[in-house]
């Protein structure tokens, strides 16, 4: 019987919810399991209610589940809010000496003196570690794996030892006091996968792609990219500048890219609002820059620590005037690595801004990923000017070419002078108001879209080739839609999926084909208006037959989508 098991940790900010959740994910990843974990937290440092879900499976998982098998409740709210998600034989681990007056089915409740045991182990702050040991004991998991993970996390010294004692206390308590209702979950293999968040996958992708410069301004959910890049800027040829604002961040990145290094910035929607001028600057100066937009619900500050896919129409149009850009949206955490690599290549090949749309859900969720195969990473810097072959004094940065792509030279590396301007410019890069030169430059820039369009892959299809209902999504909803298709097909529904991780230039032909062939076509989007549906209509002329939308700041679960499709009559 396949294993699909769900843990949840709930508590206030500051109680170590994130820490236990991460460690749970890590111990099962180490044991060879596929893991998907997500974090739900409020925009505060202390208090409130946070939870962390960890799904453990022996098959690939890219989405969260609604069911909870074991709930570690560090406060009363966790019990009250999440008890309805508990499966029939599920268990709530809590400290009955601290959380009084818990009511409900006694068979599900399992009180452990967490605080007392933590204190005995050396520090009552380790309540969460005791609970972690207890939760793993419920499924008779290998304690040695947990010990190794605790040492990695807390070091070999006193703190590491104390945590090992605390975890063992929780583990032993369950072994002696609780008659296990769960099956044993045994480690699968030594074949270790990587456990990554979406932002870590993006950071690794950027480093693999040769990104040497990043400038950014902290903003949830993108901050962890800048923090990671800053942390790794020692020992790598990499600089991360914490800029004074988003405007500076994108303009610094553009300056670095102009000078010849691969450069990026990362922000969220309202930070991107400030960066908009830079998108056009990169457009007219034909400077490659990669912009990560970790979407969260807007407008303005919206819901700072929650998720949405509300920036699609914004990033397609952000800035005035006509110029080419590319928009990508990773489907999964693994895909975030490859899409980022691709973004740097396209930015340089076509000398334009490339926007990577992720969202809070993808950015901060964890998933296991097979060790990334770096032999598959290619670096394509596009057309470069060679002073050996051409006369440097005749170099023109914006030379009008058939493809629209002008070879790049980098300032100071040779005799060629690299001149560019945010005003309209002539081929040399000097400002001009000449009508003919203006027209030639606009056309040259737009011509770059022709080869770029050919780079766009076919959207991923899943399920039967022909189906009555096609579910269409983009970006981080991939896992949930994919699994919803499985759920519905088990109910004998005729349903398949079309998923886009490359949104602009728009793959109109493939999408038109899918929409026109399905009897029902529903977009599944984490926004209020169906922004992809509008894009499909604009680019293909086809209207989808329905929109399944969620804009409460929470990610879709597969069950959400399956239920909505049933309601639509698909």
């Amino acid at each position: 019987m396949p294993i699909d098991f769900n843990f949840m940790v709930g508590g206030e900010a500051g109680q170590g919810v994130q820490s236990v959740g991460f460690l749970l994910a890590k111990v099962f990843a180490r044991g060879g399991y596929h893991v998907f974990a997500d974090q739900d937290y409020e925009s505060r440092v202390r208090g409130g209610h946070n939870f962390f879900r960890v799904r453990v499976s022996d098959g690939k998982v890219d989405a969260i589940a609604e069911d909870v098998d074991i709930l570690i409740a560090l406060n009363m709210d966790s019990i009250e809010l999440h008890q309805p998600n508990l499966v029939k034989q599920g268990i709530i681990i809590f400290d009955g000496e601290k959380i009084k007056g818990v009511s409900g089915d006694n068979g599900n409740l399992f009180s452990i003196p967490l605080e007392k045991m933590a204190e005995k182990a050396g520090d009552k702050l380790m309540i969460n570690t005791v609970a972690l040991g207890a939760a793993l004991s419920m499924v008779n998991y290998d304690l040695n794996i947990l010990n190794a993970v605790l040492v990695d996390r807390f070091g070999k010294g006193e703190i590491g030892d104390m945590n090992i004692v605390a975890a063992k206390a929780g583990y032993d308590y369950v072994q002696s006091e609780h008659k296990g209702k769960f099956r044993k979950i045994n480690p699968l293999s030594e074949d270790k996968r990587m456990l990554l968040t979406g932002n870590e996958a993006i950071s690794l992708g950027a480093i693999a792609a040769g990104c040497k410069f990043m400038a950014a301004y902290p903003m949830t959910p993108a901050s962890s990219i800048m923090e990671y890049m800053a942390a790794k800027s020692k020992g790598l040829d990499l600089v991360m500048v914490h800029a004074e604002d988003e405007i500076a961040a994108i303009n610094m990145s553009i300056g670095a890219a102009y000078a010849g290094v691969r450069a990026m910035t990362a922000t969220s929607g309202s930070g991107l609002c400030l960066m908009v001028e830079g998108i056009g600057l990169a457009g007219i100066t034909e400077t490659p820059v990669v912009i990560i937009d970790g979407q969260r619900p807007g407008p303005a500050v919206g819901l700072p620590t929650r998720t949405e896919q509300g920036d699609l129409q914004f990033v397609l149009h952000a800035h005035h005037g006509d110029f080419p850009r590319a928009v990508l949206a990773p489907a999964t955490i693994e895909d975030a690595f490859w899409v980022t690599v691709n973004a740097f290549n396209w930015a340089e090949k076509y000398q334009l801004p490339v926007i990577v749309l992720t969202d809070h859900h993808l950015a901060s969720s964890y998933a296991t990923v097979d060790r990334l195969d770096l032999s598959q990473v290619t670096i394509d810097r596009g057309m470069l000017f060679s002073e050996k072959e051409d006369e440097p004094l005749e170099y023109m940065r914006h030379r009008v070419t058939k493809s629209g792509i002008s070879p790049r030279a980098f300032p100071g590396l040779g005799k060629a002078l690299v001149v560019t301007d945010c005003d309209e410019h002539d081929e040399e890069g000097h400002l001009t108001e000449d009508a003919g030169e203006r027209t030639a430059q606009v056309q040259k820039r737009l011509r770059k879209l022709i080869p770029l369009e050919k780079e766009i892959g076919t959207p991923e299809k899943y399920g039967p080739k022909r189906a009555e209902t096609t579910l269409i999504g983009w970006g981080s909803t991939y896992g949930a839609i994919h699994e919803a298709v499985d759920i519905l097909r088990r109910e004998d529904a005729s349903v398949n999926m079309l998923h886009l991780n490359e949104l602009w230039p728009f793959p109109a032909k493939a999408v038109a084909d899918a929409v026109s062939k399905a009897r029902n076509s529903y977009v599944i989007e984490n926004n209020a208006t169906g922004q992809l549906a509008r894009l499909i209509k604009a680019e293909t002329g086809y209207a989808v037959s329905g929109r399944i939308l969620k804009y409460d700041g929470r990610p879709f679960t597969p069950a959400d989508i399956a239920q909505a499709v049933r309601k639509e009559g698909g």
């Binding site: 410069f213 020692k234 800029a243 553009i254 600057l281 770096l374 300032p411 002078l417």
Partner: protein, 283 residues
């Protein structure tokens, strides 16, 4: 040998008599005298009459958006630390639209030279008040008079810039020397350059400046004394000091970046395998 012809750019589209001509000449002279070749220089400008300057000389040019010459200049300098990076702004560009970048570049002490053409008025948009317009200055957008001006010299000093100077477009020799010193200086070097606007500023004219400016070299004070420098920075009116007002060797932003100790970023080869050593922390 570097000569005048190396720096012959496009024909300027400035008004005859504009102070920008003096600044252009002073910059060219500084570069020529320092034996710097055009391909070694990157001029990053913003928008305004000053922003056009790079087109009228020769060098690598990144003519950026209004208010934004400083951030791309910083990015380019970090990407290629061998480039001589000079940012060029007007007073609106530097102290209005780009005010935040100015403060933070000074604070970080980024290794760039910043020339600000300061004519106390907007030229390109035809005569509106600027952040440095004298108090009470009446324009189409300030019919009741401009509010009190920013003091760029004092702002730069208190923000942490390590080289702060004021020049005058009417004294090319003096200005050219200041620019040379600014380029030589390691760290953020601001040179605020007083300049008449013959079309739109009929108060602060060439003659007005000429009667007021005096060279600080005649005085003796410790250039690294912040308090003494601030006192000089506050002088404005009947007398206006020009010259280096503050200079100190302070930690330079780029020096604390470990990646730059291996040489210019742009010269280091791209190798995807460099990420492999990071994988173990995710296992």
């Amino acid at each position: 040998m570097v000569t005048v012809s190396d720096y012959a750019g496009l024909k300027p589209a400035w008004c005859p008599g504009c102070g920008n001509f003096g600044i252009l000449e002073a910059l060219n002279r500084a570069l020529i005298e320092m034996e710097i070749e055009p391909h070694q220089v990157l001029l990053v400008s913003g928008i305004g009459q000053a922003g056009k300057l790079p087109h009228y000389t020769r060098g690598n040019v990144f003519n950026s958006l209004h208010g934004r010459p400083v951030p791309p200049a910083i990015g380019a300098k970090i990407a290629n630390s061998e480039l001589i990076v000079i940012a060029v702004s007007g007073d609106g560009d530097a102290y209005g639209e780009g005010g935040n970048h100015f403060l933070h570049a000074a604070r970080r002490n980024n290794d760039i030279t910043y020339l600000v053409h300061d004519n106390q008025v907007y030229g390109l948009t035809k005569g509106q008040a600027s952040p440095t317009s004298d108090v009470g200055f009446i324009t189409k957008t300030t019919p009741y008079g401009a509010a009190s001006p920013v003091n760029p010299i004092a702002l730069a000093i208190v923000s942490g810039a390590s080289f702060v100077a004021r020049g005058f477009a009417g004294d090319v020799d003096h200005l050219s020397n200041l620019i040379k010193k600014g380029i030589t200086h390691r760290g953020f070097a601001l040179i605020d350059i007083l300049q008449p606007c013959v079309s739109f500023n009929h108060k602060n004219t060439f003659q007005w400046y000429q009667e007021r400016v005096y060279k600080l070299k005649d005085e003796r004070y410790d250039l690294s004394d912040k308090r003494a420098a601030l006192e000089k920075a506050l002088i404005w009116g009947e007398e206006i000091p020009i010259g280096i007002i503050y200079e100190e060797n302070l930690p330079v932003y780029e020096d604390q970046l470990p990646a730059l100790s291996e040489g210019s970023l742009v010269k280091q080869k791209i190798d995807p395998r460099r990420v492999e050593k990071l994988f173990s922390e995710f296992m």
